[in-house]
């Protein structure tokens, strides 16, 4: 009975205040979309880092079947060449710069590739043979990339030496800047949303002051009086958060999946399913925003 009563009160409140409720929905929608966009950028950065990025700085790729580099004229790297490289890495001249290193075989390379490009059609057309084996080297000083490059580029069986950080760092810093901008915009919009929710609750409390006055007089509990107002704001915010989640999903599905992944097939993009991981966080944030701002407003404008 009490639940049915509270639900009926919420329904009438939402109807009576429709335009304000719609504006709360839109403002939370926009602000949480920006929050979600920042989250998506971070997810994308993680995706692009792949398995090795945070562990090593330099990759020495060995010649494989399809290699066209001049050093690979004699075909794929032989086990002896591989052993020589390992010996060179352990020699005092190089070892003093190296923290540690790992060897990634073709099969391991294929496994990591499959993980990183799980959302991309490219994964089906690649076989372990096409992927080069590599030494992944963690330097004591990341700036000493040149030492490795000089020592290994000219070795037999080496296709290329790549400083991964240099390659991706600039892109990542741009993406980090973009997510910072998104978070700032989101911050402003969230302030906006909080104020708007407060105003809406105030208006709602004012338009129902007769009912709440009578509820007070006949001894309704604080919860029964306030809950409909709080839930009103929370429901609007949840709808906004759901819209924001849907928008992020659509961006991942249609823009990343449909357009960008076709233009840049060699880049790993996040999947639409991954963006849905953000949805609970966004909805939680929406509930938190609406709940706290309506509680604070009610404390001032609805005496119990």
């Amino acid at each position: 009975m009490r639940l049915a009563f509270v639900l009926a009160e919420i329904g009438s409140g939402l109807r009576r205040n429709l335009s304000m409720v719609v504006s709360v929905i839109l403002v939370t929608f926009v602000s949480l979309t920006f929050v979600g966009a920042a989250g998506m950028l971070q997810l994308q950065i993680n995706q692009m880092k792949g398995y090795w990025y945070d562990k090593v700085q330099v990759a020495v790729f060995l010649c494989s079947d399809g290699s066209t580099a001049p050093g690979c004229a004699s075909g794929p790297a032989t086990p002896e060449q591989q052993a020589n490289l390992r010996k060179l890495l352990q020699s005092p001249a190089v070892a003093q710069y190296v923290n540690d290193f790992q060897f990634e075989s073709k099969d391991e390379a294929y496994k990591h590739f499959k993980e990183q490009f799980s959302n991309s059609p490219i994964v089906d057309s690649v076989t372990p043979d096409q992927l080069p084996a590599s030494f992944r080297i963690n330097l004591k000083d990341p700036e000493k990339y040149e030492v490795i490059s000089e020592n290994f580029s000219s070795q037999a069986g080496v296709e290329s030496v790549i400083d991964q950080r240099q390659l991706l760092e600039r892109l990542f810093s741009a993406m980090n800047a973009a997510s910072l901008v998104a978070v700032s915009v989101a911050g402003v919009m969230i302030v906006c949303a909080i104020l708007l929710i407060a105003t809406t609750i105030r208006l709602s409390a004012f338009s129902r002051r007769r009912e709440t006055g009578i509820m007070r007089l006949v001894g309704a509990s604080k919860m029964v009086i306030q809950l409909p107002f709080i839930l009103e704001g929370v429901i609007a915010a949840v709808i906004g958060a759901a819209l924001a989640s849907g928008t992020l999903w659509a961006v991942a599905h249609f823009f990343l999946g449909g357009v960008l992944s076709k233009q840049y097939p060699d880049t790993a993009f996040i999947s639409p399913a991954q963006t849905l991981l953000l949805a609970p966080a966004l909805i939680g944030l929406g509930v938190l925003l609406a709940g706290t701002s309506s509680l604070l407003t009610l404390r001032r404008y609805l005496r119990v």
């Binding site: 007769r210 009578i214 007089l217 006949v218 001894g219 509990s221 029964v224």
Partner: protein
């Protein structure tokens, strides 16, 4: 049922207190009129009983409990034991008579079956049988006040506070309302009614507590609206207290009218 011990209420430090060291006890099942000019402290008295305000000093006991000691989350329970009726009815305009009365039960979580059983009973008590589905604007003022009374007593409170319940009604309708309040009082509910209506007070012959400037100046059983003290003395005292003679004239006029009616 209601006991005031040395209660003082000050709204504004610079003005005189709204209530000044009031000592008063109203027993269970009693019917008491609270009379006095506007600003004499009648409404403050009622607000203190409801814990809408805190007394500046002194203690207010309702049903044996010191209201100052009731924590804020238990105030609703205090208010469930007190019904309130106002001059302006305060009905919800978009709800029917039945829904208005049922509202008071819904918000404290009574079950639907109890509501369906109790509301018609209470409407019968206040004389509104067959009008369950009317909207407030389809009723006369007297009928609207009956709905308000039904709402105030539907949860069977031990106390009914009425703040000028007949202030907006004509004399005949007012007497009808008094009949309803009397019936509720007969059923054991303590009734405290603040009023300006001398006809009613004179007709009912109940206890009268007269307030002036926050002080109880008269507390008589089975009394009249104006004191039995000779008129000459009283008018001088009125002038001394407030410099407002018209209230005295008003009272005197009212009594004359009432006497006329009695002859008719």
């Amino acid at each position: 049922m209601i006991r005031f011990e040395n209660v003082t209420k000050v709204y504004d430090q610079n003005a005189r207190p709204a209530l000044d060291s009031i000592n008063l006890e109203i027993d269970r099942g009693e019917f008491a009129f609270l009379v006095g000019a506007s600003g004499s402290g009648k409404s403050t008295f009622l607000r203190l009983v409801l814990k809408e305000d805190r007394a500046s000093s002194g203690a207010v006991y309702v049903a044996g409990q010191n209201v100052a000691k009731i924590s804020s989350w238990r105030v609703p329970r205090l208010r469930r034991g007190i019904g309130v009726v106002f001059q302006d009815f305060r009905l919800l305009p978009q709800k029917t008579v039945f829904a208005n009365v049922a509202f008071a039960m819904q918000v404290i979580g009574r079950s639907r079956s109890v509501i369906r059983e109790t509301v018609p009973e209470v409407l019968k008590t206040v004389g509104l049988e067959g009008k369950e589905n009317r909207l407030p604007h389809e009723l006369s003022g007297g009928e609207q006040q009956r709905v308000a009374i039904a709402r105030a007593v539907v949860n069977r409170p031990g106390i009914l506070l009425a703040d000028e319940p007949t202030g907006n009604l004509d004399p005949t309708t007012s007497m009808g309302i008094m009949g309803v309040l009397d019936k509720i009082n007969q059923n054991g509910t303590t009734v405290v009614m603040a009023t300006h209506d001398d006809d009613i007070v004179n007709e009912m012959r109940k206890r009268v507590v007269e307030l002036r400037n926050g002080v109880v100046i008269r507390d008589e059983a089975r009394a009249l609206y104006t004191s039995m003290i000779p008129v000459v003395g009283q008018s001088r005292r009125l002038r001394d207290a407030s410099g407002r003679e018209p209230s005295d004239f008003g009272a005197a006029n009212g009594e004359a009218q009432h006497a006329g009616e009695g002859k008719l």
